[in-house]
Amino acid sequence: MATLKVSNLTKNFGSTLVLKQINLDVSDGEFIVLLGPSGCGKSTLLNIIAGLESVDEGEILIDDYVVNRVEPKDRNIAMVFQSYALYPAMTVRDNVIFGLKQRKVSKEQIEKSLQHFSKMLQIDQLLDRKPAQLSGGQRQRVAMGRALVREPHIFLFDEPLSNLDAKLRVEMRHEINKLHEQLGTTMIYVTHDQVEAMSLATRIAVMNEGIIQQIGTPQKIYDQPNSVFVADFIGSPAINLIQGTVSKDGAALSFIPDQQKDGDKIPLSGYSFETEPGEGQKIIFGFRPEHIRLPDTSLKSQMQVELKPILIELTGYEKEITFEFHGNEITGRLPRHVDAELGKSITFSLDLSEISIFDSASTMRI
């Protein structure tokens, strides 16, 4: 078992800075997901941890030992790739045991590990086939088997599920989750899929433009995003963000949307500011689609709103309804029995207990 520490890591490709001052502390047994849009540097970070890319500045520590100049094979890691990266000329068996053979593990030990893990992954019937004869899901299992038999201290996953179809993806996600529970090994997992991130991670590191924007538990990332980027990136349908200003009425703060018409104010008394904004400060007011609720007086902090649907989409279990709200389009996520008609106002409760407020200039949470 192992810990991993990345400190002040910087990486350039030519003149482009792909990673800027990355700090990451992973304790033993954690499942860290690096989440971000493509080109955010998450795969580069993973490759550097694996030793496949060099470090420009900063340090990588595995079990408190600086491994910057240690070869990938000596780092005691295993990696699963997006393209599976199986060796096409070898059988499944040879693919799986290749790493053990390189390490001169005894024949009996190899056979034992092979049997154990191929049963665990249900690939024991496929051992004599070539990768080309396998389906996508089977290849994925073999790729995992190849990583597992090595019994590494850290597992690295580079978008391992993105080549699978939707159904298999869910299945393999469960499988990986179970594996983590069974083995308790430290895992680092790169993906751009927020559902994977939310369901697998003990902590998520959201990355953008070479910077870790926020690290935290999935719950924390979802409920209290620390920037507009994180708020907007996590959650589907996306969070509703409305530009406006702060108005101070004695001690009571409220929010005035930029394009509001009828003098509505949204009270901000239920929100605990980290730094209290001043009168007239430009802010962004964010609330998630599920915070538009059917009228409910039991909510401890709420506001009644009249909303007119401009688009209604049934997603199966729910209805996603788009409303006009002070010149913005906002989305609500409502039970499907809600009686909505285009252009007909309905009264809802806007739940104010879990909103997020960001400063317009810095786009950071305040």
């Binding site: 496949l52 990938p72 094979k73 790739f81 599976y84 060796y87 790493g99």
Partner: protein, 251 residues
């Protein structure tokens, strides 16, 4: 040379195969082919792997290794004929450098003349094999090499056990193309040795044109052309067949 249209048929082939010059030419072709194909593939693989190591000057070096391919076999032969010149060529160079006993007279040596053709042909064509293999190496999924590195394979075993087996189609293409070049090799022999000394570096292609255009032995010429054609057929048809099947499977 007015052709007489009579069925002389298979007799020409008997005449051909009992012809001393022909069997000598075929033997030379075998020696030449084995060496030429073998050395070209070897050099091609080595060069492509060396160039694959993220070299800064790769573009320049690739240009240098491949430029002989742009030259004709006649130009190649003319240049090497001078370099291999038994008195004033490479022999004199080494003697001037202090190896006073150095002798290199393969060009006029009946035993060795066929090897001079190998030397020049390898110089001209090995860069081509390098280009093919380099293209093959570049088409390999980067993640496979990463996976092998993490699995603990050294550079040597990555190439031997993983990458080269993946390049089987490139091997096939290279071998077929080199075989094809060697079967029809004519220009280089003409320019370098003209088949000599005597007929010691004769080749089937040379035999054929000599019979056709200098000896008016149209029958023998045709028979030998048919032989060459059949040989190519035997090599190319299975190759094209497997190539097309591979593509169909890939689709």
């Amino acid at each position: 040379m007015l052709p007489r249209y009579e069925f002389w048929g298979i007799n020409q082939h008997f005449r051909l195969w009992s012809h001393m010059r022909w069997s000598n030419a075929v033997e030379n072709l075998l020696i030449f082919t084995i060496l030429f194909v073998g050395i070209c593939i070897l050099i091609g693989i080595i060069l492509s792997i060396l160039l694959d190591q993220k070299i800064r000057a790769e573009g320049f070096l690739r240009t240098v290794y491949l430029y002989p391919m742009a030259l004709s076999f006649i130009v190649t032969g003319t240049a090497w004929k001078w370099i291999l010149n038994p008195t004033m060529g490479i022999q004199k160079l080494f003697r001037d450098w202090g190896f006073t006993d150095f002798t290199f007279d393969w060009l006029v040596n009946r035993e060795m003349s066929i090897y001079t053709i190998v030397i020049a042909a390898v110089w001209q064509s090995s860069g081509f094999v390098m280009a093919l293999f380099l293209a093959g190496l570049r088409s390999i999924d980067d993640e496979i090499i990463k996976a092998a590195k993490i699995d603990g394979a050294g550079l040597y075993s990555i190439y031997i056990t993983i990458i080269l087996p993946m390049l089987r189609p490139v091997f096939m293409s290279s071998i077929v193309i080199l075989l094809h070049i060697s079967i029809k090799s004519y220009d280089l022999v003409i320019a370098l040795t003209a088949g000599g000394p005597g007929t010691s570096s004769d080749m089937p292609a040379l035999f054929m044109t000599q019979m056709a255009f200098h000896r008016s032995e149209i029958g023998l010429a045709s028979a030998s052309a048919v032989m060459m054609f059949l040989t190519v057929l035997a090599i190319v048809v299975p190759y094209l067949y497997s190539e097309l099947r591979r593509q169909d499977a890939g689709r």
